[in-house]
């Protein structure tokens, strides 16, 4: 299982690197999908099939299509140089931000006491998750539903176009 984790982690990292380094922005988007799928595979190897399925359905299913459709609809010229190399300063700023994020994530992972203790194992079964969502986390769940509804109405409004009069 340890070996599998490294293979899947490699897939994820190759996807992420490919997304950043690729010159064609459509290739970048497909590398992003590879990274999403790698993450789903890691969930599967951690025996969290529900989370893996959600990752596949939401990210590499819906988000990826949204990204790629948006790119293809907006950009009409040649794609081969659509993701050009940035100037040196921008690259340093980007690298700095990434490094800062890495340090923050690393710190929070190292400083968080993990596993063991008297806490019950987190729910991974779909039924347990559903129970938690509709009881203990009912309010955040409803708030997210409201947010999504607002987004949907906004999209409908945009798609209908402005009032002519």
């Amino acid at each position: 299982m340890q070996l599998l984790f490294y293979v899947f982690a490699l897939v994820t990292i190759v996807g992420a690197l490919g997304m950043v380094l690729s010159h064609n922005i459509v290739h970048s988007a497909f590398y992003l999908v590879l990274s999403f799928i790698g993450l789903a595979l890691i969930y599967f190897s951690l025996s969290a099939p529900f989370l893996g399925a959600v990752q596949l359905m939401v990210y590499s299913g819906a988000v990826a299509i949204l990204v790629i459709m948006a790119i293809m609809m907006v950009r009409r010229t040649d794609m081969t140089v659509s993701n050009p190399t940035q100037s040196l300063i921008k690259r340093f700023v980007g690298a700095g931000t990434a490094a800062l994020f890495f340090v923050l994530m690393g710190l929070s992972i190292v400083l968080t006491p993990l596993g063991g203790g008297d806490a019950a194992l987190p729910a991974t079964e779909a039924a347990d998750l559903a129970g938690l969502l509709l009881s203990r986390f009912a309010l955040p769940f409803e708030l997210i539903a409201l947010l999504l509804l607002a987004a949907m109405l906004g999209a409908l409004l945009l798609a209908r176009g402005g009032d002519e009069s």
Binding site: F30, V33, P49, A53, L56, G61, I65, I68, M69, A126
Partner: protein, 347 residues
């Protein structure tokens, strides 16, 4: 666990391999490999049989003859001739194509189409990947089949391919929602997302097609739309966009698209069988897997029947039908199921 012919066979085979090698892990692995080989065999067999059956069914529906030269007066060897023709065709890559994406698209399309077969309960206990969240995982994986179309459409550097790719995406996304929502009623009734539990819940002839007739109709229409077949085949509507995303593919690359399409057709039939027609359940005079394939083939015939008797719909009709009729109806079905379950005190 209930035993059946297939699971008994698997158990016996595992014992035999264990007897020869003496390593438990190896016998498990060998059995998995055999299972995967069997599934790939089923898929290729389906493609061979369906190419022939489609022509014969189509000929029957439209009062024509169909294949009647190659291999006797019933044209039984027509699929072989088709295969030879496909293999001898030149492999042409369009100029200005995005080479890597173009080559990847047909292969990637086949992966999710074949992967979902691991979840099907062909018989009691005869499932390759027995997952508790089976239904959800199955649709998460089959949903991955959308991107390769778009990939092929973009990489072909052809406006017809591109339009076809966009059409696939809008159509498949529109019908995935009602497809999943139509199954929610069944999940509410069984309380499990494991496919074998869903089949077992239909024991005693109480198939879900009788309990959830509205869901069955919605499921069938959405499943046909997901497989991009007539009356929803405007993805490759030849009178408008040549062949959609497949336009620039020839020979064996095109054959892969074709294989994935027939794999998806059988998947739709198998899903309808499993969710609504009691899967492998049936009277004892036939083994479970025989019932399973009998029902699945019947569903395939029904879907072929649709193909050759309905005209092609327009893209705006398809999308508005999906969002304005199918989705609300499927949500209504969930609501009605809940009300009835409450009234009967099942909750």
């Amino acid at each position: 666990m209930e035993t059946s012919f297939l699971s008994g066979l698997a158990l016996w085979l595992r014992g035999e391999i264990y007897g020869v090698t003496g390593i438990p892990v190896l016998s498990d692995l060998a059995l998995d490999v055999i299972g995967i080989a069997l599934l790939l065999g089923i898929i290729s067999m389906a493609a061979i049989v369906f190419t022939y059956a489609e022509r014969k069914v189509c000929a029957f529906m439209q009062v024509r003859l169909g294949p009647n030269r190659v291999g006797g007066r019933f044209g039984l060897l027509q699929p072989v001739a088709d295969m030879l023709k496909l293999m001898s065709k030149e492999d042409i890559m369009p100029e200005g194509a995005d080479k890597v994406l173009w080559a990847l698209s047909p292969a990637l399309l086949f992966v999710p189409a074949a992967l979902v077969y691991a979840f099907f309960p062909f018989d009691a206990g005869a499932v390759l990947a027995d997952v508790n969240v089976g239904v959800f995982l199955l649709f998460a994986i089959s949903g991955q089949a959308v991107l390769p179309f778009l990939m092929g459409g973009y990489a072909s550097n052809n406006k017809y391919s591109m339009v076809g790719g966009f059409r696939v995406v809008s159509q498949m996304i529109s019908y995935e929602a009602p497809l999943l929502f139509s199954l929610l009623g069944i999940l509410m009734l069984t309380g499990s997302m494991r496919l074998e539990d869903i089949v077992e819940a239909q024991a005693g002839g109480l198939w879900f097609v009788f309990l959830q007739p509205l869901a069955f109709v919605i499921f069938l229409i959405s499943a046909v739309a997901e497989t991009n077949r007539t009356p929803f085949d405007l993805v490759e509507g030849e009178s408008e966009i040549i062949a959609g995303p497949f336009t620039e593919y020839s020979g064996m690359r095109w054959a892969l698209f074709f294989l994935a399409e027939y794999a998806n057709l059988l998947t739709a039939a198998i899903l309808a069988t499993t969710f609504f027609l009691g899967g492998y359940l049936g009277p004892d005079f036939l083994p479970g897997f025989a019932w399973f394939f009998l029902k699945a083939v019947l569903m395939v015939f029904l879907i072929m029947w649709f193909r050759w008797t309905f005209p092609r719909t327009r893209v705006d009709q398809i999308l508005s039908f999906g969002w304005k009729a199918m989705l609300p109806l499927s949500i209504l079905n969930v609501f009605l199921t809940g009300v009835v379950m409450c009234a009967l005190g099942l909750v």
